[in-house]
């Protein structure tokens, strides 16, 4: 198990390296001149050249990539004009756009993204697993159909529409909640939760359909297994059978998938983040791509990749912990 974890973490480093090369290459291919974009619309050619020099854009791509990797390992020094800015390892570079350390930017944005992803997970676990169980328990009935349609309705509606609808209904019509604006957890946990409620609901409901179906399918599959027959033959009631035995079988895949989803959400919940103005990584990524802010984009993608890879490992470990029959290899 420890060996497995170590081996996977070793693999993670390779994954991240590959990911960084890919992103570097992609952005490098993208049109638009980062120097021009960083300089501003009406820079003179001389100024652009200076900025290009400053950003190291004159170097060969390979050199730039090597510098980037060196920065991660050993840190780098940058000039602020008036002084020297030490960017400690792991240094992901300075944003072309804002001249801020990418590591700093990411650390600043991470809490928002993490709160969104984890909170949404709670919702999709509660709603998704609940709905899935309900429809498994009432299979064939009206309840099942209603649950199916409702959960599917949530997947069939793109998240930007779902979020806007929720905002309109909850904040504008019913006025149950003020319009959310992000408050960091460290600042005021209560307000943080209130303000994250709608984003959580949006993302959570959107995802929960998937989990409802997963839960339902796994539960039904477990219900078809032989040991369920045993408990039926001993007079155990249907509710206990579904709630205890069938649900237990549905837990491992739900956990595994949740870990993966949370992982991808670290860069993937762009739509929710921009709709609710959550200063998270997804939005940073999109903005970075728009202005060809190579260090920021690479940095965020790396963090995201790390989250995905880590989530993969965690998912495997959790899966193995939840289902003792599985052997890790």
């Amino acid at each position: 198990m420890i060996r497995f974890t170590l081996q996977r973490l070793g693999g993670a480093v390779l994954v991240l390296l590959a990911l960084s090369v890919l992103v570097f290459g992609l952005i490098w291919l993208a049109p638009g001149d980062p120097a021009k974009l960083a300089c501003g619309d009406r820079c003179s050619p001389a100024q652009i050249a200076q900025v290009r020099e400053r950003l190291g854009l004159n170097d060969a791509v390979l050199t730039r990539y090597a510098d980037f990797v060196r920065g991660i390992v050993a840190g780098r020094d940058y000039s602020t004009g008036t002084g020297v800015l030490r960017c400690d390892a792991p240094c992901l570079g300075l944003s072309y756009r804002s001249d801020r350390q990418v590591t700093e930017v990411i650390l600043e944005r991470l809490p928002a993204t993490a709160s969104l992803a984890l909170g949404a997970m709670v919702i999709w676990l509660a709603v998704g697993v609940g709905a899935g169980l309900l429809s498994a328990l009432r299979r064939g009935g009206v309840t099942e159909r209603a649950v199916t349609v409702l959960t599917l309705a949530a997947t069939g509606v793109p998240v930007f529409i779902l979020g806007l609808l929720l905002l309109m209904i909850v904040c504008a019509y019913l006025r149950w909640l003020p319009f959310p604006s992000y408050v960091p957890l460290s600042q005021d946990p209560e307000q943080w939760a209130w303000n994250m409620l709608l984003p959580w609901l949006t993302l959570g409901l959107f995802e929960s359909a998937k989990y409802a179906r997963l839960t339902r399918a796994s539960t039904l599959e477990t219900l078809a297994e032989d040991h369920i027959r045993t408990f039926r033959a001993y007079g155990v009631g249907e509710r206990a059978i579904v709630g205890r035995h069938a649900l237990r079988g549905a837990v491992p895949p739900v956990i595994a998938l949740s870990a993966l989803d949370v992982g991808t959400m670290f860069g993937g919940a762009v739509l929710t983040e921009s709709l609710f103005g959550i200063p998270g990584l997804g939005k940073t990524l999109i903005d970075g791509v728009r202005v060809i802010d190579l260090p920021v984009v690479t940095g965020v993608v790396l963090v995201m990749g790390a989250a995905v890879v880590l989530a993969n490992v965690v998912a495997d470990l959790l899966y193995a912990a939840a289902d003792r029959r599985v052997v890790l290899s």
């Binding site: 890919l22 793109p158 989990y211 997963l214 599959e221 999109i286 890879v309 495997d316």
Partner: protein
């Protein structure tokens, strides 16, 4: 669940066979129905069809999809019948002073414009919805095919290859899962020549980034299958690994792959919508449901029909695909096929 190996213990339980379906892009997955676990598999195409036909919901959703496809195919004909064209502007039908909202009730529904007109342009909604269906379905189906093709190939190779190949391919899958679709989408739409057909580009972007789930499912399934004796028997028959894969494994992968396809398809429609929302979707003036939805985003109070129509169609499509997918899954599932198993159903009381 790339690292999960086999299931231990003497009982050869189908513990991994649980992560079924329902996964959109970052799917983790494993086998759905290890063929060894159930009774004989009556999976001849005719048998599956017969069982599908006996489920009203499956028939209904297949019907709905057929109608949708027909409508999409016949779009030019139908719009011509309605005397409309999806691109023609009707400035006179919108109230310019009020943001271009259609004049008249229900978003400008009239004898000419059966479903009203688009705010701002006055283009016929009926025609645009039909033409939009073509793109949306094309992109969704195309992307799904690409995802499945790559996913099956990589999953098979990982499942069949040695430890090194498996590790390598699993890590590649990780990389692809971690690569944000938007970055690639934006970068590619910018790099690729503007006259490159957009739907094809969308298909490629969604397809090339979204195969992780399929590959994981196929890999897990392959790992299960390859330990089955019929694979060993095929080896003893003197078959090389690729022949074994093609003749023995691929047919058995059909069930989970088809099931997964039914989940991917609607998810891809929504992905197309989201990409359009971020401006990397189809090229105007070509309509797609996703692009219509993203334009309609803010209109649901001023012109509800404008939102409800594409959203409703999308919803119906998603529903139909899902219901049909569920039905196909159960029809292919040997355990569901013998529904009379003792004790697997609840009491009649």
């Amino acid at each position: 669940m790339s690292g999960l190996g086999r299931v231990s213990g003497p009982g050869r339980v189908s513990g991994l066979g649980r992560v079924s379906g329902t996964l959109t892009r970052p799917a983790a997955g494993a086998a759905q129905t290890p063929p060894a676990a159930g009774p004989p598999v009556p999976s001849s195409p005719a048998g599956v069809l017969r069982r599908l036909r006996s489920r009203p919901s499956a028939v209904l959703s297949a019907g709905v999809l057929a109608v949708l496809v027909l409508l999409a195919l016949a779009a030019p004909l139908l719009t011509a019948l309605a005397g409309q064209d999806p691109y023609a502007y009707h400035d006179e039908l919108v109230d310019s002073a009020r943001g271009g909202v259609p004049i008249g009730s229900f978003g400008g529904v009239s004898a000419d414009h059966w479903l009203g007109v688009e705010p701002g342009t006055g283009r016929d909604l009926f025609a645009r919805l039909l033409y939009g269906a073509r793109i949306s379905l094309l992109v969704a189906v195309g992307a799904t095919l690409v995802q499945l093709a790559i996913g099956v190939a990589v999953g098979l190779a990982a499942g069949l290859g040695n430890r090194f190949t498996d590790h390598l391919l699993s890590r590649v899958t990780d990389v692809m899962t971690a690569l944000p679709m938007l970055v690639l989408g934006i970068a590619l739409t910018a790099v690729v020549p503007a006259d490159f057909p957009r739907p094809l580009l969308l298909i490629l972007v969604i397809g090339v980034l979204g195969w992780g789930g399929a590959s994981r499912i196929v890999r897990a399934q392959t790992l299960t299958l390859k330990r089955l004796d019929f694979v060993a028997a095929a080896r003893l028959g003197g078959n090389g690994p690729w022949r074994v894969a093609r003749r023995e494994l691929l047919p058995s992968l059909a069930a989970p792959v088809i099931t997964y396809a039914a989940i991917l398809l609607p998810a891809n429609i929504v992905v197309e919508a989201s990409l359009s929302f971020l401006g990397v979707g189809v090229k105007p003036p070509t309509p797609s449901w996703g692009q219509m939805l993203s334009n309609a985003q803010t209109w649901f109070r001023a012109d509800p029909l404008y939102v409800l129509l594409p959203a409703g169609l999308l919803l119906v499509t998603v529903l139909a695909f899902t219901v049909l997918g569920d039905a196909v899954r159960t029809a292919l599932d040997p355990r569901e096929a013998s529904r009379l198993r003792v004790g697997t159903r609840k009491e009649d009381s």
